[in-house]
């Protein structure tokens, strides 16, 4: 899209002064306002990619170095909960997309329903994450705070996982590197969860505003941009899930 023509067009429209109430004073047209905020959101997501990029880099390097520890570390994650959470997030992305659509269609109650659903699904995700983190705590897999190499020195001591994967004991130097795996696991899922928490807070705010009819009078920019954010957080998980849970699991 050529933005200079959009602006030239904007100037003509700006000549007559009939702004909808939601148009900020410094924009010439609603279109320009939408374009600008939307573009800003994409840029922000770009910075978010760089932010997570640092973590992914660290993951790639250490995984390369300590492959066996990372494999056995990933055996400690529950595919069931991981898949459940992925499903929850994908559904929440769908309800979020529906929210945007409903806002555009100016259906207030449907918008509210979709937002509340997204809100709840977000909470469900965090709840499941909480269950998984709690399990790590119980099994001494929280680096720095509550940690022991035992599971990796003697995999048979962890009956459930052993029954499924029959892991060989790792040599002590390699076993100790599993701690790096769990550090990255917590750093990455923690950062992701932090983004979820921020998203859920904004969702709560949006639900209150949507009740007052804020997004169903033609001004959907905020819902759309938040949708972008929510999908982004979803996509980060789509990368985290295979990297942490799935790849090289059966080796």
């Amino acid at each position: 899209m050529s933005d200079s023509t959009a602006i030239a067009h904007g100037a003509e429209a700006g000549a007559h002064h009939e702004h909808p109430p939601y148009q900020r004073h410094h924009f010439e047209t609603v279109n320009q306002q939408f374009d600008a905020t939307n573009f800003a959101m994409w840029l922000f997501l770009l910075t978010e990619i760089m932010f997570f990029g640092g973590l992914f880099t660290a993951y790639l390097i250490l995984r390369n170095w300590y492959y066996p520890a990372f494999v056995e570390g990933s055996h400690q994650l529950s595919i069931f909960w991981g898949t459940a959470n992925t499903t929850v997030l994908i559904i929440s992305s769908f309800t979020m997309a529906m929210s945007v659509w409903n806002a555009q269609m100016r259906r207030k109650s449907a918008l509210l329903l979709c937002l509340v659903l997204t809100f709840i699904l977000g909470l469900v995700f965090l709840g499941i994450k909480g269950i998984e983190w709690h399990e790590k705590w119980v099994k001494f897999h929280v680096p720095g705070l509550h940690y022991s190499d035992q599971t990796f020195l003697n995999p048979a001591s962890d009956h459930e996982v052993y029954a499924e994967y029959h892991d060989k004991p790792l040599a002590p130097d390699m076993a100790s590197k599993a701690q790096q795996y769990f550090f990255l696991y917590f750093a990455m899922t923690g950062m992701h969860a932090l983004h979820m928490v921020i998203g859920i807070c904004i969702l709560g705010f949006m639900i209150v505003r949507a009740k007052a009819g804020a997004y169903t009078s033609g001004h959907v920019t905020f819902v759309e941009n938040f949708g972008l954010y929510w999908h982004f957080v979803d996509i980060v998980w789509i990368f985290l899930f295979p990297l942490l849970y799935l790849i090289s699991r059966h080796q």
Partner: protein
Amino acid sequence: MSAVTIVSLPDQATARVPKVNFLTKENGLLSWLLTGDHKRIATLYLISITFFFFIGGALAGLIRLELLTPQSDLMAADTYNKVFSMHGLIMVFFFLVPSVPATIGNFLMPLMVGAKDLALPKINLLSWYLYIIAGAMMLYTMAAGGVDTGWTFTTPLSTHYLNTNVISAGLAVFVAGFSSIFTGLNFIVTIHKMRCPGMTWFRLPLFVWSNYAASILMVLGTPVLAITLVLIVLERTVGIGVFDPAKGGDPLLFQHLFWFYSHPAVYIMILPGMGVISEVVSTFSRKRVFGYTAVAFSSVAIAVFGFFVWAHHMFIMGISNYSALVFSLLTMLVAVPSAIKIFNWSFTLYKGSITFETPMLYAFGFMGLFTIGGMTGVFLGATGTDIHLTETYFIVAHFHFVMVGGMLMAFLAGIHFWWPKWTGRMYPEKISQLAAVVTFIGFNLTFFPQFILGTLGMPRRYAAYPPEFQVLNVFSSAGATILGVGYLLPILYLTWSLKYGEIAGDNPWQATGLEWQTQSPPLTENFAEIPIMDREAYDYEWLERQQQKEVASVG
């Protein structure tokens, strides 16, 4: 020569600063603290960064005082370490990074592209608040006993071996980083989406181009620093992390991630300054910038190449010889656009009609000092000489030539240049010319001896040094006092001018930018009506025709 000037002021007997402008529109503290107006936020930024500049400057004074004698007698070694660490952190993250973009850039960006405000005024205000929160955390760090990691937070020193306030300092920089991300993001969106009718990309002033390039670096580089600092804080709190060599982590990974931001950060600091120089040189030689396109693209080239040279900070750190080769080559390539700029500015003077007001003097200072700073960068970018010169006072002198001789000179040039627009009043010309000259002399006396010290091998960050280096250090400290005077003067006379300066009128410099075609200080909405850009940037002939038309219509 100084008698000849382009300054054209309105008749002082009748002229008034416009009653309604962005400064007077609303009153009260709250109208400032909750403002969305980019010019007010720029003003808030200007006050805050000046505050931090003088804290950083005072710390620099302490460093130079300590280095008067070879022994560490003024302060103990760990106090000295804290002082230079705080100096670096404050100057880099609280002065240099926000200096031109968040103050002058914030003030000018919408004016220059012909918009009423930045695209996201609330985000702009948020960015200032983040800066203030970060600044408060940094001051807390200082009050709580300081931090002695150096501004580089090198692991594992910062994570496992120091018991100072690394966490609060790290978080302060983290928050300051987001402030800078939001400024950059706002600029990019504004430049893309808020240009007035007729303002094509190649009609943008070069100041906009260079800030655009710097904004790209801010938006893409800063988040990497942010995550790196998060990892440092985590490693420090839970005791394990990816940078800890004792637990299988990689301390070189930290160096890569840190310099992935911190090298581009150098360009974040210098590029906006280059933009100021383009504006100033053009205005005071009454000429279009020589090779506009080349200067515009060289900014973008610096931004792009700037992302791929970070490992030249690690030549002696045991990266493989071959990657050193690649990064050295790319470093040489990034030096070329800077050389292009210097020559283009020089040739802007060719067949111009030059006057020598204060901003121009600062700009000349910039061109000389930045040439030295840039060339010595090549000494360090060439792998062989880097071995001998890195981590010595040579590198200290190099980056002070670029950052202080370059960026600070450009900042002062810009502040003087746009002061009449900002406040509606002129600064006093004679004393400010004196300040410019004093700064230049003081600067050279302070930092030039450090090149020799570095070549002789004096390591940086030393509280005590072998006695044979003393004489040059004394020169350097003596220069620092002169430099200090050079920086105090503007504070005094600029404050004075707020009340007693001559009324500037709309366009005291007879400059062509859109910002000069509106009243000074501007209205809150910048322009009475949205301007239409129907000419190239730096079109002095257009300006002349415009003035003739006015004369004709009055006559």
